[in-house]
Amino acid sequence: MAPRLPARCWRQLSSPSSIAASASLVPRASLLPAPTPITLTTPSTAHISTTSTRSARSGWSTLPPRTAKPYRFNQATSGLPTLTTGPAAALKRKERTTPVRTGVLAVKKGMTVFMGRRGARIPCTVLQLDRVQTVFNKTRSKHGYWAVQVGMGERHPDNVGAPLLGYFEAKGIPPKEILAEFRVRDESGLLPVGVQLMPDWFQVGQRVDVRSNSRGMGFAGGMKRHGFAGQEKSHGNSLNHRTIGSVGPSQGSGSRVLPGKKMPGRMGNQRVTVQNLPVLLVDNDLGIVVVKGCVAGPKGCVVRIQDACKKEPPPKEFVEKARKVLEERFPDAEAHLQAARERHLELKAARREKRIAELMEGGLMVPQEQAEKIEQILAAEAKEGGKNAEVVA
């Protein structure tokens, strides 16, 4: 790295002629008046700006500003060894453990058992997918990695802020209770925006990783939180039966508590991943995925289900089939998204120009048949109401 010296220190060092000139200049200037002004700037330093960018804000340096990508020199064509750090290297490193397709959000409904025909009894957890929709795709070029943002559940617009309402408006998606993103290996894992992921996204028998927040235990002592042994009940012990005891050695070892010392504190409510759970059952009507074994968290907690990263993904045919089914189920996804985007731009402009009230009124137009239908219903209602009124009278 070049030393970030002020320009005035190294400007004259850059060319030997200027040094010589300046060294010989001092005595000569004192003896006789200089016949011609000597230019101190040499061609090599002429292009460096001197004072214009020197300020407290720019760090008093006249070096060209560092860019966001300091490793630009190491291009693929430069013949240097490939970098083992940086975004590209990180993506490459994590490629094998990143699932090929997105996961889903679900709600833990509870545990039950799966009784086999031959007497096997398998404890299992029931996870329900509540209108899981894809919301957004993140790409390598724009965001640095590939991921699918997924939303689940419903949220009343009262409880959604204006920015997020605009976000959902632009997608043509009703406000979602929860948004989460799932990283995928490459762009083939991205999905059309707005489609619903059903339980048959997963194959019975495949392995999944299930992530959720564990049950919160509140502030817990060392015995409960870390399994410390506690202290004696008797033998002179007083009021210290469940305390943690010593927290470290004394003078000679620094007389300090080492970082990471296990102590009492908040326990639970942490992200817990249960890996490689087999899927026992998927049911689109009930909207459930049943996985073997237990999953962290209380009933009703939100869980993330994704293909297991330490096992082979489901067979390629299945992945393709699931994707095809998805596209067949929602053939108008593209058109709907486009319409929603256009509408969003229209409304956005209206909001900016304070025309939204008019637009709301204008938007409430009903087509002819519907208006007639409503008329009929109203007429019928009025008739009934009239009858009732007569009866009352």
């Binding site: 409904k109 509870g110 039950t112 058992v113 799966f114 009784m115 086999g116 025909r117 031959r118 007497g119 009894r121 029931v126 329900q128 997918l129 509540d130 209108r131 929709q133 419903e154 617009p157 204006a162 309402l165 959902f168 408006e169 043509g172 998606i173 009703p174 406000p175 059309p192 925006v193 707005g194 489609v195 619903q196 009930l286 909207g287 459930i288 189920r329 929602f330 108008d332 058109a335 709907h336 998204l337 929603a340 409304l347 909001r351 939204i356 009230a357 709301m360 409430l364 137009m365 009903v366 087509p367 002819q368 519907q370 208006a371 007639e372 409503i374 008329e375 219903i377 109203l378 209602e381």
Partner: protein
């Protein structure tokens, strides 16, 4: 305000729709008269969510909000049912207990098994049938289980049996409790004072009476494991 939901809401919501349209009666009538205007625009896919200024009480802004159940152009996608666990239980019970005998046996009615009754359970893997007094019944749908206690060689033995498990081949009621127990779980039976001891005598007695009544059938080998549930049900 928006009359468009009429088409996408089911009839159950007619009341709400009518209420909405009633507010809009005047507006709608105007529009019905001005047919040329109204037919030109397609119905909106979304409603509006207005945000009012809390101080001025005027409309600040509004956002289009698509109705819940709108998915990529497909409308009226209902939320999934909420009682999935019950549905799962029912489905499995239907499969594992098609006659419904065991469900009746451990449901909460007068004829069902109660704590204090003596049962004999034949297990596919256990060898000898296990007889004992029912200490508690744990009702959890498909995972319903019963805890039984007996003495085998002067040692108290307790065993849980999953009622719907295929390994539980047969459940026989040996003896009903003379009086309804006043506890749901008879854990006090573990104390020597209240321990019932071995139920061997009761089982022996029951076997003897059965032999008397069904000699011909037992000789023919009809007292197999399959028929046991049915007999128990008949006994009730």
């Amino acid at each position: 305000m928006n009359a468009a939901p009429l088409a996408r809401r089911p009839l159950g919501c007619l009341k709400a729709t009518l209420r909405q349209t009633r507010h809009q009666r005047l507006l709608v009538r105007q529009m019905a008269t001005e047919a040329a205007q109204t037919t030109s625009k397609p119905p909106l896919e979304h409603g509006f969510y207005p945000i009012t200024d809390p101080k001025k009480k005027t409309l600040r802004t509004a956002f289009a909000v698509y109705s819940q159940g709108t998915v990529a152009g497909v409308k009226n996608i209902p939320p999934p049912p909420s009682n999935v666990l019950q549905a799962l239980h029912e489905e499995q019970i239907k499969r594992l207990d098609p006659t419904g005998v065991r469900t009746a046996m451990f449901s909460k009615n007068r004829d069902a098994v109660k704590p204090g009754d003596v049962l004999m359970i034949t297990h596919r893997r256990g060898g000898e049938p296990f007889a004992g007094v029912v200490m508690s019944i744990r009702r959890r749908g498909i995972d319903t289980a019963v805890l039984m206690r007996n003495h085998l060689g002067k040692v108290g033995v307790e065993m849980w049996f999953k009622v719907y498990n295929k390994n539980v081949a047969g459940i026989d009621i040996i003896k009903r409790a003379p009086k309804r127990a006043r506890r749901a779980r008879l854990t006090y039976m573990r104390q020597p004072k209240h321990d019932m001891g071995s139920v061997e005598n009761l089982v022996f007695e029951w076997k003897r009476t059965r032999k008397v009544f069904s000699t011909a059938r037992s000789a023919a080998g009809a007292g197999g494991k399959k028929g046991k549930d049915a007999k128990a049900a008949k006994k009730k």
